[in-house]
């Protein structure tokens, strides 16, 4: 078993008293609480953690935080397995299992590494150049390329964990809990403002956790602990560690991904694994810090080449030394502190190689104490070793930095190369917020330009790299953000923190690509990587520039630089510099690529949130739902309603059940739950005028007590909804709409009332939920009603078809009356009984009990469809498709010529008046047992082979037990003039002959009225 050979005996923020066991590939290792997977691997001497994307080169860890582009692993197993997780962000827990990716058969011996040898065959734009011809072979190419080049593999089984969303509002959202962010949160919080402080890390403190800096004369970590304790106590401050702010949208809306339980082997009961926050902040303070850039030089991807700042973090925070003998290569001051930390941790440090002619002077004494040589005006030209660094080659660059001065080469043996290519402020979120970035040549980075929203940037993200500036400006930003959100300090604010004095920095010398060690600097000496995750080299970028790609956006897409899951965090600026050099222009002229959310990858689970499985969509239930369930109903979703589809009896399949239900409704008595129909109460002195404008037919003539069928059109003249509306009083109507369209119709009515006809005195109020509706139909319907409403005159003369009355139903409704409408959707003798919803179940049960002697049969939506189609009643959305006029449906005579109404003008367009428009017809197949599928196309001849001119399509198709055959409704071009003709229904390579008929197959006769 491996030993933790690189674990320091003391120091760091880990708990050495507890051991956590974990498995990486096939090896069991141990780490400690406080470790990440990355720090534990390094502690165990693991250098090789993955294979690169394209060339399958051996790769090791380079970073200690979210910018890691090599250490991507597949975490956990089974349904919890997650690919492409950065080892630097995985908090170690006992029993953790992780696998390296992108290698076969094993990490150490990977056949894909052949790609590296064949790399001359894979230049930038390789896919575009190679696989574009012949185009029809791309699917085969793609299959191979996907297998070779893909990143990790997703889990195959379902994720057992919960995810959820969370909404929050605050005065000040502080992003990043380093020194600047903590100071901002403290000063904002002291005003009483509602503050949210979010940070990616498990611990607050940011860079202070790893860089050993002092504040107020004590370690920075002690200062962090003090601030954290205060913030944790404040009721107005919410601390969100392990939370990445990933998206910054308009109106200061931000999305945060909280990794609630990712640091546990599995979440507690009810606890989500991750939570996606949607935060609305009055003010935002971005304290997102800066990321250290690597240097672009030959073989800079060998395991053992790391960021200098990352190495410092591993030593100080995790108590791990990532090597035994380290060389540092820098163009700025920050590596000097790292060299001392390395030396103090017992790592041999032969040299700091500094690109600058003048190395900073302040470190001299301390460096001498450890015997660290400073090699100013020198560069590391290349790295030796394959699976691990074995040494570096050092030389002197010319003044321009684009060639090597001959004769000064030197080689130093080492197993660790620490690179510091300067610092890139993390401005992804700021850029997402709409702010512009401006290039500053002195630090060599983009800095915040003019803000576009209520946002401030502080700390290293603002180019303030000195700790005192972070603290002072952070506090100031926190205070002013709170002020702008309407909160003031009462009395004095907190005491201002004071950082240990730092020497003024010596300006960096940015050289975007170090020339290779070959003679005259032209020979590369190895691949110099810019984007490690996408395997893009400096040579690829130069090639793209030579091939004519001058826009950085085009270079990005052509070479894939910055397109990995790390979004080019460490590569974008280097790439920009190299492209600018190649094009011989200044960096601001090249500009930068667009930053898009999310800043870090977000799991699909978090995006889906908590409403999955049975909670995916609201399931609306009628008051009779429980009865339907208890009586074996199969349900069908209609909009969000769950309606009984059919009620199979033992041994019945759907066809048998629907036949039985359909037959019963015509021969004796059927009962359907029609509660789901949309119902709108329309009231006011102008109600009739309002309906006149909404419907195609007239409403002023409808007497109180009467009901009328109406059609509504859109402004385009196409049928939008239909239903029966009853006049309750002179100024009062009860409108019904189709089930799925109820909300749309209500919106439509309100829209016209509020925006176009505010002069009409009408109120439209939905009352769908208030009423339960039982639709009773069949020859015995009147007899049944008579038994329920004794003494009430139900005769056709007293209570005719298309009228309504309030009726007492003793024993079911005490002190209440039902509204009974003499309307129906089956053509049979019908009563639609409306009662307050709380009495719906009682009504239903009373009807079922009283109807027993008539064999009352509850029927579902499918039988209802058959029944209505038999008598030629349309369903909006089935017989219509948004291009259907009233005349197309044979309802042209309903269109009133005496008034104006919505959609009227469109009916006189030449296209809506064409004679050959698709018109509703009936179809009877020659074979009475043959049921054609809905949607099948109608054609003239009996040859179904394409190409064909379609003449229309089947809209409804059923078997009817009442007709003892199949039948269909269809929209057929010029159909009304073609009754009696034979057409063909084409589907599945067949052409089924059918006779065109009128769209009505059955007439229940006057007795049904």
């Amino acid at each position: 078993m491996r030993q933790a050979i690189n674990r320091l005996a003391e120091g760091g923020r880990i708990d050495r008293t507890e051991r956590l066991s974990f498995r990486f590939d096939d090896e069991i290792m141990y780490g400690h609480p406080g470790d990440t997977l990355a720090s534990a691997l390094l502690a165990n001497g693991v250098r090789l953690v993955g294979r690169s994307f394209k060339y399958h080169r051996p790769r090791g860890l380079m970073a200690a935080g979210g910018e890691e582009s090599n250490g991507l692993v597949r975490l956990r197993q089974g349904g919890r397995a997650e690919p492409n997780v950065r080892a630097t962000e995985i908090v170690l827990f006992d029993g953790l299992v992780a696998e390296s990716q992108n290698r076969w058969p094993s990490l150490r011996f990977d056949l894909g590494a052949l790609n590296d040898r064949l790399s001359p065959l894979f230049p930038a734009g390789f896919y575009y150049k190679t696989f574009m011809w012949p185009a029809n072979l791309w699917p085969s190419y793609e299959a191979v390329i996907r297998r070779m080049a893909g990143l990790g593999k997703a889990a195959k089984s379902g994720d057992p964990d919960r995810y959820e969303k969370k909404y929050a509002h605050c005065d000040v959202l502080v992003v990043g809990a380093g020194p600047a962010g903590l100071a901002a949160a403290l000063w904002a919080g002291r005003t009483g403002a509602r503050v949210i402080l979010a940070d990616e890390g498990t611990e607050l403190g940011g860079a202070l956790l790893g860089n050993g800096q002092q504040i107020d004369g004590r370690p920075g970590t002690a200062w962090v602990a003090g601030i954290e304790a205060e913030l944790a106590k404040a009721a107005n401050v919410r601390l969100l560690p392990r939370t990445t702010v990933g998206g910054y949208y308009d109106h200061n809306a931000l999305t945060l991904l909280e990794r609630v339980a990712d640091h546990l082997s599995k979440p507690d009961q009810g606890q989500p694994r991750q939570r996606l926050w949607q935060v609305r902040a009055k003010q935002v303070v971005l304290a997102t810090g800066a990321l250290e850039r690597p240097m672009v030089l030959a073989n800079n991807d060998r395991p053992g080449v790391m960021g200098a700042g990352a190495v410092q973090t591993y030593i100080n925070r995790y108590g791990v030394r990532p090597g035994r003998r380290a060389v540092l290569f820098t163009n700025n001051d920050s590596a000097y502190r790292v060299a001392l930390d390395l030396a103090q941790a017992g790592v041999e440090v032969p040299a700091i190689v500094d690109l600058r002619a003048q190395a900073p002077l302040g470190w001299r004494a301390e460096l001498d104490r450890f015997g660290i040589e400073v090699m100013a005006d020198r560069a590391v030209l290349g790295v030796a070793g394959r699976n691990a660094v074995t040494g570096v080659q050092i030389g002197k660059l010319n003044a321009a930095g684009n060639g090597v001065v001959p004769g000064l080469a030197r080689r130093i043996e080492c197993d660790l190369l620490c690179l510091s290519g300067g610092w890139t402020p993390s401005l992804h979120l700021l850029s997402q917020s709409g702010a512009r970035l401006r290039w500053d040549g002195t630090p060599g980075c983009f800095l915040p330009g003019e803000a576009h929203q209520a946002v401030r940037v502080v700390g290293a993200a603002n180019g303030d790299f000195m700790l005192q500036d972070c603290l002072t400006l952070g506090a100031g930003a926190g205070k002013s953000a709170a002020n702008d959100a309407g909160h003031q300090h009462r009395g004095r604010g907190p005491r201002k923190p004071v950082a240990a004095v730092e020497a003024d920095p010596t300006p960096p010398r940015p050289i975007w690509s170090i020339p290779g060690p070959g003679r005259d600097g032209r020979k590369s000496g190895g691949k110099a990587f810019v984007d490690f995750q996408s395997d893009v080299t400096a040579a690829d970028l130069r090639l793209a520039a030579r091939e004519g790609y001058h826009s950085i956006e085009h270079v990005k897409r052509y070479t894939t630089v910055g397109m990995g899951t790390d979004q080019g965090r460490t590569s974008n600026i280097n790439a920009l510099g190299i492209v600018a050099d190649a094009l011989d222009v200044a960096i601001p002229q090249v500009g930068h690529t667009t930053f898009r959310p999310p800043f870090s990858p977000v799991t699909f689970g978090a995006l889906a949130g908590g409403q999955t499985g049975p909670l995916l969509d609201p399931a609306r239930r009628t008051p009779m739902h429980g009865w339907h369930q208890a009586n074996g109903a199969v349900f069908e979703p209609v909009g969000q309603w769950h309606r009984p589809y059919y009620y199979p009896k033992a041994g019945e399949d759907m066809a048998a059940a629907v036949n039985r239900e359909t037959l019963a409704a015509r021969t004796s008595l059927g009962l359907m739950d029609a509660t789901t129909l949309g119902k709108i109460d329309i009231r006011g002195p102008d109600a009739a005028e309002f309906l006149n404008r909404i419907y195609i037919n007239g409403w002023k003539s409808l007497a109180v007590g009467g009901c009328r069928y109406g059609l509504m059109l859109g402004e385009d003249g196409m049928v939008f909804d239909d239903g029966v509306t009853a006049r309750l009083a002179e100024d009062h109507f009860h409108m019904t709409t189709t089930t799925g369209n109820a909300a749309h119709v209500h919106d439509w009515l309100e829209n016209w009332l509020q925006t176009e006809w505010p002069d009409l005195a009408v109120y439209c109020t939905s009352c769908t939920e208030q009423w339960a509706v039982a639709a009773l139909c069949g020859p015995n319907a009147r007899r049944l009603m008579a038994s329920l409403c004794p003494g009430f005159d139900l005769s056709a003369e007293a209570f005719p078809h298309m009228t309504w009355q309030t009726v007492a139903i003793p024993g079911v409704l005490e002190g209440l009356e039902a509204r009974i409408f003499r309307i129906g959707f089956t053509g049979e003798l019908s009563f639609e009984i409306n009662v307050p919803a709380g009495h719906g179940l009682a009504l239903w049960e009373a009807l079922m009990a009283a109807g027993e002697k008539y064999g009352i049969t509850p029927f579902g939506t499918e039988a209802m469809h058959v029944l209505r189609a038999e008598v030629g009643f349309i369903i909006v959305g089935q017989e219509t498709d948004g291009t259907t006029t009233p005349d197309d449906l044979g309802m042209g005579r309903m269109v009133s010529s005496k008034k104006d109404f919505l959609g009227k003008r469109s009916l006189s367009r030449s296209d809506t008046m064409r004679q050959d428009r698709p018109q509703l017809v009936g179809l009877l197949t020659d074979d009475p047992g043959h049921r054609v599928p809905e949607g099948a196309q109608l054609i003239a001849g009996n040859n179904p082979a394409p190409p064909q001119r379609g003449l229309g399509h089947v809209t409804s198709s059923y078997h009817s037990p009442n007709l003892d055959r199949t039948f269909a409704l269809a929209l057929l071009q010029g159909g009304r003039g073609r009754h009696g003709e034979t057409i063909h229904i084409a589907y599945d390579g067949r052409a089924v002959p059918a006779q065109v008929t009128a769209p009505r197959f059955l007439d229940p006769g006057e007795a049904a009225k």
């Binding site: 909404y167 909670l615 002190g815």
Partner: protein
Amino acid sequence: MSRARHEPLAHLALAAAGETTGPDAGVTLQAAPYQPAVILRGESGNAAFLEAFRAGMGFDLPLAANHVNSHAGATALWLGPSEWLVQSTTGQAEHGRLAAALTGHRHAIIDHGDGQQIIRVSGPRARDVLSKLCPLDLEGPDLAPGRCARSILARCSILLHPLPGGGYHIHVGRSFADYVWRLLADAGLEFGVAIGGAG
């Protein structure tokens, strides 16, 4: 013999389910029993209508957006510029009293008592549960007691009414009651959910 009104959540047998999941329930869910309620429509700018309401009901209709006024067993919740929910808190039906008071003034009264279910969400984590599902600022002054707001709970329309004694009344359309109950119970799982008795 008339059957009692059937409650939308009766099928959950909540009375028997008065138990707690999780160690200490952070949130309590209660299905409020039926209370008469109506939607009242009328013009905010019609002084005679407002005066008639006040004369009949003994209190003013709230005219400011999302405000709630109560008096002697009746509560009026602002739903829109011409729309209020007038809710009985005593079981006393208001329909007749309102209709009598408003005779002669342009208005509409639509029965709503059967059309809604009120779910009371209370307990120390009530707000944490709701903030998983409702995008409004539950901590801000706009949702202090005395206010109300139409919003969404996941994909369902709700009327949210913070209560003076803590907790919230969530009014949902009757057909959504079962789904919303399950939604809240699921969101509260993390904190432990207790089922409260009627009330």
